[in-house]
C-alpha cells in the first residue's frame, strides 16, 4: 500500500513538473505547478511530516503560486518567442549527467545514513517538536534567517521606492 501511494505521488509529481516547463501557456504552467505542490505535500504526509505538508500548502500553493499568477496576469505574457538556443547542448549535458548519476548509483549503491532516532516526534507531535528544536538547538540559524528577511525588506524599499534618490 505504502509503495503504491508513493508511486502515485511520485508519478504525478514528475508529470506535473514536466508540464510546468513543457506547456506554452504560462497560466497552465502555474496551475500544473499547483498540482505538483499538492502532491509533494501528499508525499510529506506519507513520511509523517505533517508540519512540512501544511507549510508546503500554505506557503507554496497559497502564497508563492498566487504571486506567480499575479505576475503572469499583470505582465500579460502573450509572446511565444524562444530566447534560448542551447537546447541541444543542454540535452547532451543532461544525458551525460544522468548517465553518470545512474552509473554511480548502480555501481556503488545508494545507502542512506541512519536517521536520528524517532525521538519525541511520536510523543509530542510533529509541529511541537520542530518548534522545540528551532528555538533551542537551532536558535542561531533561526535568528540569521530573520536578519535575511530584514535585509530583503529594506532592499525592496531602497530599490523600488520613488523619489529617495532625487530628493537629495
Amino acid at each position: 500500500m505504502a509503495t503504491f501511494v508513493f508511486l502515485y505521488f511520485a508519478a504525478v509529481i514528475v508529470m506535473a513538473a514536466s508540464l510546468v516547463v513543457l506547456v506554452r501557456n504560462p497560466i497552465y504552467s502555474a496551475l500544473s505547478l499547483l498540482v505538483m505542490f499538492f502532491h509533494v505535500a501528499g508525499l510529506y504526509v506519507t513520511l509523517h511530516a505533517e508540519f512540512l505538508a501544511a507549510i508546503q500548502i500554505i506557503v507554496y500553493a497559497g502564497a508563492i503560486l498566487v504571486l506567480y499568477l499575479f505576475v503572469v496576469m499583470l505582465l500579460n505574457v502573450k509572446r511565444e518567442e524562444q530566447f534560448n538556443r542551447q537546447g541541444p547542448v543542454a540535452l547532451f549535458l543532461g544525458v551525460v549527467l544522468l548517465t553518470e548519476a545512474v552509473l554511480l548509483t548502480v555501481s556503488r549503491g545508494f545507502t542512506v545514513g541512519a536517521p536520528e532516532p524517532g525521538r519525541e516526534g511520536a510523543a509530542v507531535g510533529n509541529t511541537e517538536s520542530i518548534g522545540e528544536v528551532l528555538y533551542s538547538t537551532y536558535l542561531f540559524p533561526f535568528e540569521i534567517a530573520s536578519l535575511i528577511l530584514l535585509v530583503a525588506m529594506i532592499g525592496a524599499v531602497i530599490l523600488s521606492k520613488k523619489g529617495i534618490m532625487e530628493s537629495k
Binding site: A101, L104, T105, S107, R108, G109, F110, T111, V112, G113, A114, P115, E116, Y135, S136, T137, Y138, L139, F140, P141, I144, A145, L147, I148, L150, V151, A152, I154, G155, I158, L159, I164, M165, K168
Partner: protein, 491 residues
C-alpha cells in the same frame, strides 16, 4: 528558555555589528541630511570596536550555540581582515556615493549586514549556518550592486548577480541536503566522523561534495563558475565592486576552506584533484581573457578571477595526498596571506578607478588612463604601485603572497603547479603593465571629450594611503602577517 551568556559573549562582534546596522537604519531618517556622514563614521567606529574585541580574544577555540558556531584563530583572522576591508569600503564610499548622487545612509547599513553574513560564514561550524551566512552576505550584495538604480548597467548587474547567485545557492543547498541525508547531520564535526566511518566510495556523499564545490566555486568566482563576474563587477558601483571582489571573496574562501578541511578532511583524495583542475582552468582563463579587456573595471574583474586561481593553489596543497601535516598547514596559511595582500592591492586599484572621473561618469576605460602621469602624478604613481603588486613584482606585497604560495606548492611536491602559476604571473604582468604604460608613456590625447579629473575626498585619500601602506609594508616587512597566518591556519 535562556540563552547562555557565554554564547552571547562568543558572538559579541557579530552582535555589535548587527546592532550598529539596525541603529544606523533607525537613525537615518532622523538625521539632518547635512550630517549623514556621521552615520558612516559611526559604522567605521563600530568596526574599530569589533577589531579590538576580536583581536583581544584571538587564539582560543570556543564553540557556541550547541556547536553551531566556532570562534578560533582561523575565524578571527578572517574577521580582522573583513573589518579592515569593510572600513576601507565605507571610507571610500563617503565621497564616491556623493559623486554618484546615491548617498543613502542605508548603504552603510548594507555593508554592515553583509559583513555580518561574512562573519557568520567564517565562524560557522555547521553547513546550515554557513549557508545562511552566505545568503545574508549575498542578498545584501545584490541590493548594493543595484544601488545606481537609474542606470541600466547597475540594474543588469544586480539582476544577473541575483539570478545566478540564487541558482548557485540552490546547488549548494542541494549538496547540503544530500549530506544531511547521507550522514544525518549538518555539523562539520559529525560529517567528518560519518565520512571516516563510511569511507570514500559513498556515491551520495561524492555527489554532495561535487555540488558543494560548485556552490563555493561560484562564490569565489573560479572557472568554470565565473560567468557572472565581469558583468556584475563592471555594472555595480565601484565601491561595491571593490567590496565584492575583496570581502566576499575572502569570506567565501574562509568558509570554503573550513568546509573542505573540517567537514571533508577525510576525502582529500576525492577533492584535491578536482580543485586542482578548477585551479588551473581559473589561472588560464582569468589571465588570458584579462589581456583583451579595454575596460579597466572589467580587466580587474578578470584579474580577480585569476587571483582566485592563485589562492586555490593553497587549497590544492592543503588537500594534496601524501603531504605532511606541516606542509598542508603551510598551504592554508599561504592562502590566507595571499588573500590578505590581495585585499589591499585590489581595493587600492578599485579606489583609483572610483576617484578618476570624466565629466559626470567614472573613468573606467583604459583610454581615461592615457597620460594620467602628466596630469595627476600621485594617482598615476599609486596605480603603478597597485598594478606592480597585482603582477607580483618585488618589493611589493603581491610578490610576497605569490612567493609563499609557490613555496608551499614546491614543498608539497607540486613544483609543476608552481611553474604554471609563475608562467601565468608573467602573462598577467602584460595586462597590468599595459595600464602603467598607457599612464606613463602616452600623451593625453587632445581630442578627449572632457578632461578627466580626480574626485579625491579626504576619506578616499585615507583609503589609498592605507592600501598603499599595506602593499609596501607587507612587501618589505611581511613577517608579522606571515606569523599571524601561520598561527591562525587550520591544521
Amino acid at each position: 528558555m535562556m540563552i547562555p551568556l557565554a554564547d552571547l559573549v562568543t558572538i559579541l562582534p557579530e552582535l555589535i555589528v548587527v546592532s550598529a546596522a539596525c541603529l544606523l537604519l533607525v537613525l537615518d531618517p532622523i538625521t539632518p541630511s547635512n550630517k549623514k556622514d556621521l552615520l558612516a563614521w559611526m559604522s567605521v567606529a563600530t568596526l574599530g570596536v569589533c577589531f579590538v574585541v576580536t583581536a583581544g580574544s584571538m587564539g582560543d577555540r570556543v564553540f557556541a550555540f550547541s556547536d553551531l558556531v566556532v570562534v578560533d584563530g582561523y575565524a578571527s583572522f578572517w574577521k580582522l581582515l573583513l573589518y579592515v576591508v569593510s572600513a576601507m569600503t565605507i571610507l571610500l564610499s563617503i565621497g564616491y556615493l556623493k559623486e554618484e548622487r546615491i548617498d543613502l545612509a542605508e548603504f552603510y547599513g548594507f555593508v554592515l549586514l553583509s559583513l555580518t553574513g561574512m562573519m557568520i560564514m567564517v565562524s560557522g561550524a555547521d553547513l546550515l549556518v554557513i549557508y545562511l551566512g552566505i545568503e545574508l552576505m549575498s542578498i545584501s550584495l545584490y541590493i548594493m550592486a543595484g544601488f545606481k538604480r537609474f542606470e541600466a548597467k547597475s540594474i543588469e548587474s544586480s539582476a544577473k548577480y541575483f539570478i545566478l547567485g540564487a541558482f548557485s545557492s540552490g546547488l549548494l543547498l542541494y549538496g547540503i541536503s544530500l549530506i544531511f541525508g547521507a550522514t544525518g547531520s549538518t555539523r562539520l564535526v559529525e560529517i567528518a566522523a560519518a565520512v571516516d566511518a563510511r569511507g570514500l566510495d559513498d556515491s551520495m556523499i561524492l555527489i554532495a561534495l561535487m555540488l558543494v564545490i560548485v556552490g563555493f566555486g561560484f562564490k569565489v568566482a573560479a572557472v568554470p563558475f565565473h560567468m557572472w563576474t565581469p558583468d556584475v563587477y563592471q555594472g555595480a558601483p565601484t565601491s561595491v565592486t571593490a567590496f565584492m571582489a575583496v570581502a566576499s571573496k575572502a569570506a567565501s574562501f574562509g568558509a570554503f576552506l573550513r568546509v573542505m578541511l573540517e567537514g571533508f578532511g577525510g576525502m582529500k583524495p576525492n577533492w584535491s584533484g578536482l580543485i586542482l583542475g578548477v585551479c588551473i582552468l581559473t589561472l588560464i582563463l582569468g589571465n588570458l581573457v584579462a589581456i583583451v579587456q579595454t575596460n579597466v573595471k572589467r580587466m580587474l574583474a578578470y584579474s580577480s578571477i585569476a587571483h582566485a586561481g592563485y589562492a586555490l593553489i593553497g587549497l590544492v596543497v592543503a588537500g594534496w595526498v601524501g603531504t605532511e601535516a606541516g606542509v598542508s598547514a603551510k598551504g592554508v596559511s599561504s592562502m590566507m596571506l595571499y588573500l590578505a595582500v590581495y585585499s589591499f592591492m585590489t581595493l587600492g586599484a578599485f579606489s583609483i578607478v572610483a576617484i578618476l572621473r570624466r565629466g559626470g561618469e567614472e573613468g573606467e576605460d583604459l583610454d581615461d588612463f592615457t597620460g594620467l602621469a602628466k596630469r595627476h602624478k600621485g594617482a598615476a604613481f599609486l596605480m603603478l604601485l597597485f598594478m606592480v603588486s597585482l603582477a607580483g613584482i618585488p618589493p611589493t606585497a603581491g610578490f610576497i603572497g605569490k612567493f609563499y604560495l609557490f613555496m608551499a606548492a614546491v614543498n608539497a611536491g607540486l613544483t609543476w603547479l608552481a611553474v604554471v602559476g609563475l608562467i601565468f604571473a608573467a602573462v598577467s604582468a602584460f595586462y597590468y603593465l599595459r595600464v602603467v604604460m598607457v599612464m606613463y608613456m602616452r600623451e593625453p590625447s587632445p581630442d578627449q571629450e572632457g578632461e578627466t579629473r580626480l574626485a579625491l575626498s579626504p576619506t578616499a585619500f585615507v583609503v589609498l594611503a592605507l592600501a598603499a601602506a599595506g602593499v609596501i609594508l607587507f612587501g618589505l616587512y611581511p613577517w608579522p602577517l606571515v606569523s599571524l597566518t601561520a598561527t591562525a591556519a587550520l591544521p
